[in-house]
């Protein structure tokens, strides 16, 4: 790190900073200027708390140069990580689309969604059985019954399944049915849950917290990685800002930022990101163009009567159209989307 001293800081104040840095194990490079002294500190302990220096007299500013996370960092692993779920590879050249209803409601609804998203080219079915709702009076999900419905629909349409885990007590039951465990935005800093998921070897989709910085998000991923589970994917889903027109502000810039800082796959959820159906497709197109490794999109055969998040769910026909558009955008940046020939589209299947 770099410690910038205030103008006219005294020699004693500079000495106090150097002795603190030496104590922390840093090698010190002092540079005395005409007005102010700058102290470079290299080596030392990654966990060293810069605030210990910030509070010293005469210190203007402490700039940390290395990231506080290690395993999640691209410095640690320069090449992109690919998370493999059966024959689906997330983080490779192919953009993987995960789509389905917000929550499983009944057998017909799950079946309708699964067949629609499969036909359009999705590789993974999404669907909640345990729902973290803002209000305790809202629909809370079908629980294990919902997982059963989602699993059997996934199997019928050879889709993988991603479903949210809200509490570590649900680990066994969700692992029994789901291929990928999603950690929702509200649980992004539930460190006991993250630590337990680090012990498992299940692929984890870690959503960004509603007001989490990218650094906090990567530190949460670090919790899972530190336990030895390297199958971590990140998912941007919008952050809370002063703008109230959309439900959240989808941070598209998080995609190139995360790509630079980390080797982990980065996905985008434009459904939660905007909360409004007509904004989902434009943001999905933007996300793919910006380099996202995948998308998480809510699709419902009858959104007007959905038990949760109907307003942000696409109709199957809208999803079809979006996938067709994404197939044009992805090759422009050297990616592909849904490699199988979807030529059967239009042949009445």
């Amino acid at each position: 790190m770099v410690v910038v001293m205030q103008e006219r800081a005294t020699d004693e104040q500079v000495q106090r900073v150097i002795s603190q840095l030496v104590e922390m194990g840093f090698d010190v490079h002092r540079s005395t200027g005409a007005l102010r002294t700058v102290i470079g500190a290299v080596g030392g302990n990654r966990a060293a708390d810069p605030r210990l220096l910030e509070v010293l007299d005469g210190v203007q500013e402490v700039l940390r140069i290395t990231e506080p996370y290690k395993l999640a960092s691209r410095t640690f692993k320069p090449e992109n990580s690919v998370v493999t779920v059966g024959d689906v590879r997330i983080g490779g050249d192919e953009v993987i689309v995960m789509a389905g209803p917000c929550s499983a409601e009944n057998e017909d609804q799950v079946e309708a969604a699964a067949s629609a998203v499969k036909r359009a080219g999705a590789k993974v079915l999404r669907g909640g059985a345990f729902k973290p709702r803002s209000s305790p009076y809202s629909f809370q999900g079908l629980g294990e019954e919902g997982l059963r419905l989602l699993r059997s629909a996934s199997d019928r349409h050879s889709l993988k399944l991603v479903s949210e885990i809200m509490d570590i007590s649900q680990l066994d039951v969700i692992t029994k049915y789901s291929d990928i465990l999603q950690v929702g935005a509200r649980n992004m800093q539930n460190f006991t849950l993250l630590r337990e998921l680090g012990r498992s070897r299940m692929p984890i989709l870690l959503k960004r917290g509603i007001s989490a910085t990218i650094e906090e998000w990567l530190l949460s991923a670090e919790y899972i990685l530190a336990g030895g589970n390297m199958n971590v994917m990140l998912c941007e889903r919008g952050i809370r800002t002063f703008e109230s027109y959309t439900r959240n502000t989808l941070d598209i810039s998080a995609i190139p930022v995360v790509r630079k800082l980390s080797h982990l796959p980065i996905l985008v959820d434009p459904s939660h990101g905007t909360g409004l159906r007509d904004k989902v497709a434009p943001m999905a197109r933007a996300a793919v163009a910006a380099g996202a490794d995948g998308l998480l999109i809510e699709v419902h055969h009858d959104p007007d009567h959905a038990l949760s998040d109907g307003a942000q769910s696409l109709f199957p026909s809208q999803f079809d159209r979006l996938m067709a558009e994404l197939r044009i955008i992805a090759p422009a940046i050297g990616r592909s989307i849904c490699l199988e020939p979807v030529a059967r589209r239009g042949w009445g299947v």
């Binding site: 020699d11 000495q15 002795s19 030496v22 090698d27 490079h29 002092r30 005395t32």
Partner: protein, 104 residues
């Protein structure tokens, strides 16, 4: 043409002089570092800290007092700060090696 050749000859001569001075500097810097290591060892035995700000201030004051230019005092101070920084680093490494035993 002849003028160019004589400029080149003078430059070569001055550059050889720089190289010779650098050789002395490197030897002296190494001698100084070895001396600093011995001091570090003594400080360790006496249970003193690696970082002795008052002594560093003395060293910096001394070199500025004896400085006759053309480098000004502030420049001399900055150069010696770097020399001291490196000596401190060397002391730390030697210290760790003693604590951790010989490197296998």
């Amino acid at each position: 043409m002849a003028q160019e050749r004589s400029v080149k000859r003078r430059l070569d001569e001055l550059r050889r002089e720089i190289d010779a001075i650098d050789e002395q500097l490197v030897r002296l810097l190494s001698e100084r570092a070895a001396c600093a290591l011995r001091i570090g060892h003594e400080k360790k035995l006496a249970g003193m800290d690696v970082y002795q700000p008052s002594r560093e201030a003395e060293v910096l004051g001394h070199v500025q007092r004896i400085n006759a230019g053309p480098l000004d005092d502030a420049a001399m101070k900055r150069l010696f700060e770097r020399i001291i920084d490196e000596a401190r680093r060397l002391e730390r490494i030697a210290d760790e090696a003693r604590e951790n035993g010989p490197i296998e």
